[in-house]
C-alpha cells in the first residue's frame, strides 16, 4: 500500500485536482449534515465528524429509477436509465465503506444488479479514518476498525497538520493521479503518528458484542419464547433499517399512468408489516417480535451463511436512533445467554 502525506490546508485543492468528476461528501449546513453532491468545493464546509448521515444511498439510492416507459402504437417502449457518472465520495467512514463489501456479493451474485454495480464501478471511495468513535460504536466486534481500509480506495487519517494518505487500490491511485503534486512522501515519524492516531481511536470504542458462532446460535434460538419479550418494545418503524448501511431490502413501484411513467425502486424495511403481507391479507410475519427476530436472524445468521459476511458493520446507528432503545447488542447477548453458549 502506498502512503503519502497531504497538508490539511490543501484539502480543497486536492479535491479539486481530482477533476471532472462528481464529488459527494458530508456537507454541513442547515439543520443537519448530509451526504450530498458538492457543487462548489470552495464554498462547502465539510463535516467529517458527523456520524448519522447515511451513506448507502451513494450506491443504493433511496429512489432509483429502473427504467421509464411509455405506451407506443400497439405496445410499450422501455427506456433504460443512463450509466451513472464518475463519482468521488470523500469523507466516508471506514465502517460505512465496509458496508459495500458486504453488499457486493448480494447485488452481484446469481443475478447481476446493474444499478448497484454500475454505481460501484463508477465510484472512488476516499475515506476518513474515524477519530471520534461514539458510545454506540462497536465495529471491532464485527471485524472492522475505525481505521479499516476494507472497501476503500483511499484512506485519509488526521495526524495533526496533515492527512496521512493510504492509497489502497489501483483505482484509488488512478483517481489521485491529478493531485500528485499536492502529496509528499510520508516519513517514518508520520507512520508512527498514524499508528498512534489509530490506537487512540480504537481505544475509544467501549461497546462490544460477542458474535462467535452467532450464525449457529441464532437458528437454535429461533423458537425461544423470549423473542416475544425481546421484541415487545419495538414499535415497528423503519428507523433502524433506513439508517443501516447494510440493510438492502427494497420495494418496486410504478409511478405515472399506463401511458407514461417509470418503474422505481425505493428502500423498504422488514420492520413494516406491509413488507411481507400477501395480496390476500395473509402475513407470514404478523407480530413485531417476529419481524425483529427476522432482522436479527438475517443480519447475523442467514446473510453470513449465504454470502460469507455478517450484515452489520458496527456503526451503531440503529442503537442510537431506536426510539425505544431496542439494542441489538442487548438482544444478541440475551440470546447467547439463553442458549447457554
Amino acid at each position: 500500500m502506498e502512503t503519502q502525506l497531504l497538508k490539511k490546508e490543501r484539502l480543497k485543492d486536492f479535491l479539486k485536482a481530482l477533476g471532472g468528476v462528481r464529488l459527494i461528501a458530508p456537507v454541513a449546513g442547515g439543520a443537519k449534515t448530509q451526504f450530498c453532491e458538492v457543487a462548489d468545493i470552495d464554498a462547502a464546509e465539510f463535516d467529517l465528524d458527523d456520524y448519522t448521515a447515511t451513506t448507502k444511498k451513494v450506491m443504493f439510492p433511496q429512489n432509483e429509477t429502473m427504467f421509464a416507459f411509455r405506451s407506443i402504437d400497439g405496445g410499450v417502449a422501455v427506456e433504460e436509465t443512463a450509466v451513472p457518472a464518475k463519482t468521488v465520495v470523500f469523507g466516508i467512514r471506514p465502517c460505512d465503506a465496509r458496508s459495500f463489501v458486504t453488499l457486493d456479493p448480494l447485488f452481484t451474485k446469481d443475478f447481476d444488479d446493474p444499478y448497484y454495480r454500475q454505481r460501484r464501478e463508477a465510484t472512488v471511495l476516499i475515506g476518513h479514518a474515524c477519530q471520534e468513535p461514539t458510545n454506540r460504536c462497536f465495529c471491532p466486534s464485527v471485524g472492522g476498525s475505525p481505521s479499516s481500509t476494507e472497501g476503500l480506495d483511499v484512506l485519509l487519517t488526521d495526524i495533526g497538520e496533515s492527512y496521512f494518505v493510504q492509497i489502497v487500490t489501483e483505482r484509488g491511485k488512478e483517481a489521485l493521479g491529478g493531485a500528485g503534486s499536492l502529496l509528499s512522501p510520508a516519513t517514518e515519524a508520520d507512520q508512527q503518528q498514524k499508528q498512534a492516531a489509530d490506537a487512540q481511536s480504537a481505544a475509544k470504542i467501549r461497546r462490544s458484542v460477542n458474535l462467535k458462532k452467532m450464525h449457529e446460535i441464532l437458528p437454535k434460538a429461533f423458537a425461544l419464547p423470549e423473542w416475544k419479550e425481546l421484541g415487545s418494545k419495538c414499535i415497528g418503524c423503519g428507523i433502524c433499517t433506513y439508517n443501516c448501511p447494510t440493510c438492502h431490502c427494497f420495494d418496486i413501484q410504478d409511478e405515472g399512468t399506463p401511458y407514461q411513467g417509470r418503474r422505481l425502486r425505493v428502500w423498504d424495511a422488514c420492520m413494516f408489516p406491509e413488507f411481507t403481507v400477501h395480496a390476500s391479507g395473509e402475513n407470514p410475519r404478523h407480530d413485531r417480535s417476529e419481524r425483529l427476530r427476522n432482522r436479527m436472524m438475517h443480519k447475523f445468521s442467514y446473510f453470513p451463511r449465504n454470502l460469507g459476511f455478517i450484515s452489520c458493520v458496527g456503526c451503531g446507528r440503529c442503537i442510537e436512533l431506536c426510539p425505544v432503545n431496542e439494542d441489538l447488542i442487548q438482544i444478541l447477548t440475551t440470546v447467547r445467554d439463553l442458549c447457554n453458549e
Partner: protein, 145 residues
C-alpha cells in the same frame, strides 16, 4: 401578465353547487374555463389529502364548494367540512402555499350567478400567483442522487 392559464380543480357538492354550476350554464353566465369539476355527494366527502394531492398532481388551485351552512342535504355535512377545511387552509398557508390556491365557497342550486363570480375570482387570484410550486416530479428519467 403572461398568458398563464391555471388549472383549477373544483370539488362540488352534488346537491347545491353542482346544480348551481348547471344553472350558470343554462343561464348562459360567462365564466373562465379553467375549472375542472369533480362531483362529490357532499363537501364533507372531501378528504384533505384530496386537496393536497390535487396540488401535487398539477392543479394550480383547488376549490371546494357546497351548500350554505344550515342547508346541507345531509343536515350537517358542510359544517364538518368547514371545520376541517378552514383549518387545512391555515395549515397549508403555514407550510408555504399561498392561501389563494385553496378556496371554499357556499353556492346554492339557485346561485348560478354566484358560481360564475366565484370561478372568476378564484381564477384571477391563481393567475396572479402563477404555476404551483409543489407539483410532483413528472420527469421520469430524473437521475437519483
Amino acid at each position: 401578465m403572461s398568458s398563464f392559464e391555471p388549472k383549477i380543480v373544483a370539488f362540488l357538492c352534488n346537491w347545491c353547487t353542482y346544480a348551481g354550476a348547471d344553472l350558470a350554464g343554462t343561464s348562459r353566465y360567462q365564466y373562465p374555463p379553467n375549472v375542472r369539476v369533480i362531483r362529490v355527494m357532499c363537501s364533507s366527502r372531501i378528504n384533505p389529502a384530496f386537496i393536497i394531492n390535487a396540488l401535487l398532481e398539477g392543479a394550480d388551485g383547488v376549490l371546494v364548494s357546497g351548500c350554505h351552512p344550515g342547508e346541507c342535504h345531509y343536515t350537517s355535512g358542510n359544517y364538518m367540512a368547514r371545520r376541517r377545511l378552514v383549518l387545512l387552509r391555515r395549515m397549508i398557508e403555514y407550510m408555504g402555499i399561498h392561501p389563494d390556491r385553496f378556496r371554499m365557497s357556499w353556492v346554492s342550486a339557485s346561485e348560478g350567478a354566484k358560481w360564475a363570480d366565484v370561478v372568476k375570482e378564484v381564477t384571477e387570484a391563481v393567475k396572479v400567483l402563477g404555476p404551483n410550486e409543489i407539483k410532483r416530479e413528472q420527469a421520469w428519467m430524473q437521475p437519483s442522487l
